[in-house]
Amino acid sequence: MKEIMIVDDSATSRMFIKRCVEVILTDQDEVTCYEAGDGKEALGKLKENPTDLVLIDLNMPVMDGATLLRWLKGSPKLTHIPVIVITSVDNPAKRDELKELGAYEVLSKPIAPAKLMPVVNQVFNLQPDDFGF
């Protein structure tokens, strides 16, 4: 069973990411996606239930993605969780900054299964044959 937290203030973006995850992991035992609309909400939920992977947007109200990433990497209970940042403000300088903060990978929007698949593959140590397509 794999549990994934998707953090984005846009319900549309969360829906896109969730669809991608479900397509990528369609052949896996069970996948549960949790959602949060900002960093603060996500942090509260993750403290209660640390997931196997966190996908976060950067540009969010209340608590932005970079602040959430700092909190996660600074928490002994949550620091082990791989964090993939999915953002519209992606360029090499931003990518370097986020990786220094502890991001596992940084991907640009719009997200698509082909873009997300290799990273999810690495996170879960899946072989190409393990995917549903």
Binding site: S10, A11, T12
Partner: protein, 158 residues
Amino acid sequence: MNLLDLLVDATLETIESMTFMEVIKSEKTTPYDEHMVRLRVEILINKPFPGEMRLVLPQELAVQFTKNMYNLSDEEITEELVQDVLGEIVNVISGRLMADLVPEDQIFELGLPLIGPDVFVQAEASSLSVEFDAEETPFWVILFGDGFQESFDKMGHV
């Protein structure tokens, strides 16, 4: 390649990949129809230069985008959902454009999208407006601010 080409590419690729609708850059100029209900989505560019991107579109097209993205019927579409879709579209278009305009070693920052009814204003001198067609319905993407062209010139796009 010029600034207009970059804006057109960012808009076409974003909307087609998100809404599954064919979009083309329009070769005509549709006169402003004050009776048409239009929505306006604005996003501020905060860094490295001040600017704004605006998407203006008929409400019916906004609903069509939303229906396509969520695979929903008319009855299931809510105003909140339409606003969320439009905000995300503008967020992605502006991000793609800025990634082409800002040097790789420089960070850029966007504001949060603001959505409301469109009110006609005469375009300022430092604006670039492009008309598009999505299944024969026109919509517009407009850039405000000198920084876009200045950044484009500095980047030395060919």
